[in-house]
Symmetry: C2
Subunit: 329 residues, 2 copies
Amino acid sequence: MPVTLKDIARQTGVSVSTVSRVLSGDKAISVQTQKNVRKAAKKMGYRVNTVARSLKMNRTYTVGFVCPEITNEFFMKIAKGVEQELKQSGYSVIICTSNENVEDEARSLRILREKCVDGMIIIPCSNEGKHIKELCGDSCPVVLADRLVDDLKTDAVLVNNEAASFALVDGLIKKGKKRIAFLGGNELITSAKERFSGYLKALKENNITVEPDLIRFGDFYLQSGYDIMKDFCEMENPPKEFFISNYFMQVGAERYLQEHQKNKEDELTIVGFDNMDASPLFRFTERTAVQPMVAIGTEAARLLRRRIEGDKESFPLISRFDVDWNVNN
Amino acid sequence: MPVTLKDIARQTGVSVSTVSRVLSGDKAISVQTQKNVRKAAKKMGYRVNTVARSLKMNRTYTVGFVCPEITNEFFMKIAKGVEQELKQSGYSVIICTSNENVEDEARSLRILREKCVDGMIIIPCSNEGKHIKELCGDSCPVVLADRLVDDLKTDAVLVNNEAASFALVDGLIKKGKKRIAFLGGNELITSAKERFSGYLKALKENNITVEPDLIRFGDFYLQSGYDIMKDFCEMENPPKEFFISNYFMQVGAERYLQEHQKNKEDELTIVGFDNMDASPLFRFTERTAVQPMVAIGTEAARLLRRRIEGDKESFPLISRFDVDWNVNN
DNA sequence: AAAGTTTATGCAATCGTTTGCATAAAGTGA
DNA sequence: TCACTTTATGCAAACGATTGCATAAACTTT
């Protein structure tokens, strides 16, 4: 059985309230009593029961982090920022996954509410926001990360997707490439949409006609990158330049190319989003947009903490980070 | 303010106990009352306060998952197994990172204890187990994953590291390769040690003399793979075959080779641990050991749940998964 | 109709904290 | 010495749920 305030009180001959006051640093307690209590607490191995404290204080110092997939390096970089930042202020993070599925997402939110988290950071898996509005709200602030959602007025931390994909595609065009295929993410997701707009904008500003056959949407996962690259390569007149909307689709696409013995002599060029540890090893990937992933998490966490602490200023706040694009190989 | 049992009781004219009984499915309550209560609960949007429940029941249905680094795909695959499995039985998972640092690990354990988690799954960052023994114990079961720790009698879920690295190295030798360099992980960590034993065993069984110059230990992270590969390549008589102890060191090593314009003609061959999504894209990596990462997590979670529910059978239980080794490219 | 049984519900304690208010003791000032 | 502050501490309620025990009402049984 764990030691409680009561045990210390009994041991030192003072009341529970006095013990509580000493341990929470109340200066009104006499120095002698403080010493006694602290000594006893230490000797007996006391550790607060934050469950009881939370009940009384109506604050759990726990926040929820909901993302579509926990093994996703991109999401976990964001999670890292969140965890790092919040740990400093004494919060813990419960991680839930939605498995790219709105019902699971809603289930996670419900559980988190029942656990009385002080707030949540959500990377939504769709553009559906109803369940979030329903389950969260004033007593449980929400910050979205990486993606927005329809019909939901809340804070969000995003990146400048359109500008980055514009720059990448524009860069290719400026090098004389005109037939650039587009491998998109899940069309329902704002980041996918924004990256597509950037692509379109680059074509438009350079007076290039959009070829609908060169535009395909997947789901941001490996297999869809593989499949779409396959389809493109099997066209009668295959494109040689590609914009791929995220890292995982790049892995899939590069794997297709690898398996089919393409090599540099084919002069294929890929640009796209996300630079991960293994990106420099990709054969055809020339430039990638480098999102400040950890910083997104850190920023979302800071914002959430402010909201938890009652700051209502300029709500809802949508902040966007700029994206770097670097030469890869 | 959230709705409480009291509110429902007031609304329906019964006592709090009756409401509690209805909502926890007690059949002794009259059908009519059940209906009334359920209806009111639904209409008022009642949601249990698990903080209060936890305090009373002395069970939080929350477990801690402590790992060295949250952005590590390998650890997160294990975490996925854990989360998936435990979610089914109504548990949530708090993720903490130790940043490969014993003090941080101890801090995390302390916080988790204060949050009254029902148990923990730990991927320890060193071979130090004192702080775990101190902070956990009977009232808070612990299952280790992937690595063991000195002086700590507790359950663990591991893989058969030695057998796998033996097989990989032996395979190279059987193909006539005799000078196989070893790029090790953090020597303090059991998995690194076991992989090293497998390497030594393969040399020994094939009567190959160990060349100390061909053995180097890093820390399981990218940079160390890069640095050690560099050192090897700069030897006057560089080895051409390599055993690399995990994925991240492989990425580092491959990046070094890539940057230094090595290509297939050099006939370099890498074998080693972990097969990730991007592994097939690595130029020199020929075979990799495929650990059942998600299954490790699932198994650890099952074991932990059993311990939480009071099963003391065959404690401590160390289970080891077999490892596959597959052709890579 | 009395005694016994069953059914449905309420009372009140409890989990471990925190905190407003009361109060006793000690100290201060004239 | 008396009134008045100040200082140190305790009492008890509260947070929101669960549950053993008590009990009133409704049925059985003979």
